[in-house]
Amino acid sequence: MKKKAITSWSLAFALISVLAGCSGNHATDAGSNQEETTISFMHLWPEGNSTAHYNIVNDIIAKYEEQNPGIHIEVEVLSNEQYKEKIKVLSSSDQLPDVGMTWAAGYLKPYVEGNQFTPLNDLLEGEFADLFVPGTVDAYTIDGKTYGLPLELNIAPIFYNKAIFDQYGLNVPQTYEDFKNVVNVLTENGVAPIALGNKDRWTGSLWYMYLADRIGGPELLTQAINGEKSFNNPELTQAAEETQNLVKADAFVKGFNGLSDQEAKSLFMNSQAAMYLIGSWDLPNYTTNEDVPQEFRDSIGYFKFPEVNENSDANSFVGGPGVGLFVAENSDVKEEAKDFVQYFIEQWGEQAVTKAGVIPATKVDTSKVDLHEMYISVLNDLNNASNITLFADVQMNPDDAQVHLDLIQALFGVEVTPDEFTKQHQEALTN
């Protein structure tokens, strides 16, 4: 009887090991060509929601493999949230892919401190460095070493619905007083002035950042985050107060603290709100995206955040580089991976802007490519920008960023006073 039991068990285990065996040997079956080098590459543009990006990436990879026989790029694609979570788990075991995507500044700090990314300075010694828009690479640089090379560059203008503005005889506001007037006219007429999805919190942060920029001057917020100045200063407090004044004037859509950015965007895109402050990554929705009705796209314009006082400079923007490429420190094929990164960036720029509507961090020759006029206009603004303040939650260390984002939600919910808001920032930033 015992024997029988044992046989049935060993059968079960045999079954499991067969399964394990038949699926565990994928590493060896590529081995017909012994010289083959595999570079693993993870990105966050799945076919399902970023078809254009996805196709460009595949295109570049195919070309690269063709030009470099013996090199195989193994791709894994995850969408944003899943990508961030997986990168975190992989790095806890030093298992990052050879090449992957990262964000700038505060985001990459833990990875640099944990020795996960390798410096790419050697790539930047030659002409290659001149491809980038000046300053964009700096956001990925810590102590003189550059750990990522940017693919995207964005600024955040205020998009507005011309049809709604026309209906109430409103003009693009030139000053902050004008802007408040626009808000008042819209609310009096029962139109929601601004679409804001502050469940995601970085969206509200954009508003606060602009007010801080216009009230305290372009440098102030960055200096406060760097610790060069105290966050608890009158101008940053005043910016918080102005933010709450907008909330109290019903400038934002109802229930904004419970809405996601996606939901807010939908309100704007259904003409249920007149204005929407968002990064230029959203441009395709207002220009070339065929899924959006032509009539709506034609009715959208944008303006720069208006000036508040004599410190203000309307050519100062909130924005900065988006995702960039890193090479893993633990990669066995570091040199090959770096070469691939360089190739990728060289190929990316022009295709990105023409096919996917992404403004690349490399220079675009507007005379050579055929672009929608709104793109030309944004690219000009970028060229003439006096300052670009990197998104606060990207600038800060991840833990300070969480404090900042929570405080933003509390500020918009009028659950903290402006003074507490800046004091708590200062506390978080100094310890």
Partner: protein
Amino acid sequence: MMKKLPNILLYTILIAIAVFQIYPLVWLFMFSLKNNQEIFAKSPFSLPEDPQWENYVKVWTNGNIGTYFFNSVWITALSILLTVLLASMVTFAITRMKWKLSKLVLGLFMVGLMIPVHSSLIPLFSMFLKADLIDNPLSIVITYTAYNLPITIMILLGFYYSLPRELEEAALLDGCSVNRLFFKIILPMTTPVMSTTVIINMIFNWNEFVFVNTFISSDKYKTLTVGIQNFIGQYMTDWGAIGATLMISIIPILIAFIFFSDRIIEGITAGAVKG
């Protein structure tokens, strides 16, 4: 006549609840046929103006839905088989066999209920890495099995306690072995509760994505839920396609559910005849 009134009232309530419960499925179906504008601007009750059947085409032709589907099926099925079998054996041993540590072992399984999934991600990843099980579907199967064992055992437990003891006593007097008693007598008698646990396991495994996402990197081993995530974008999300993927993913589970749901009744009837 007076007696009818409470009945009418009862049915009104029951049907109202039924509408409330079936509505999500109807909603999901209509959702899957809309475009983004309709989904956000129009009432969720509204019918799709211009049914976007291409949402389904898009989902089917996009990427590897077929492979994902196949993986979902076999990973779910194998995990269920292992979980329900192992859980039944444990429950049998705890409720029917005589040993000192049975209470303690039961307690250990209960502790297994209490782990939050996210605190196990990093430890599990490094363990699978050492065992060379990363990017191997076996890691998913054994993780599903282990994480569903405690709840399955808990559900089985109450039923095993209620099985009449006379039956097994008679069987053992006849010289029946433990294996025969378990496989030939006890297991068939527990068909209803096994079907219940099969349904529950099926839903958990079918809808899970955190583990798959973390432990699997090749497309050839990913499951349907990963396919759903692919449509959720950072800047633009294709809600219609998500709806279509959700519909495609729910159909097999709906069919399986109806099948097993009937087994619950049949099992009881069969058990009653034998008893």
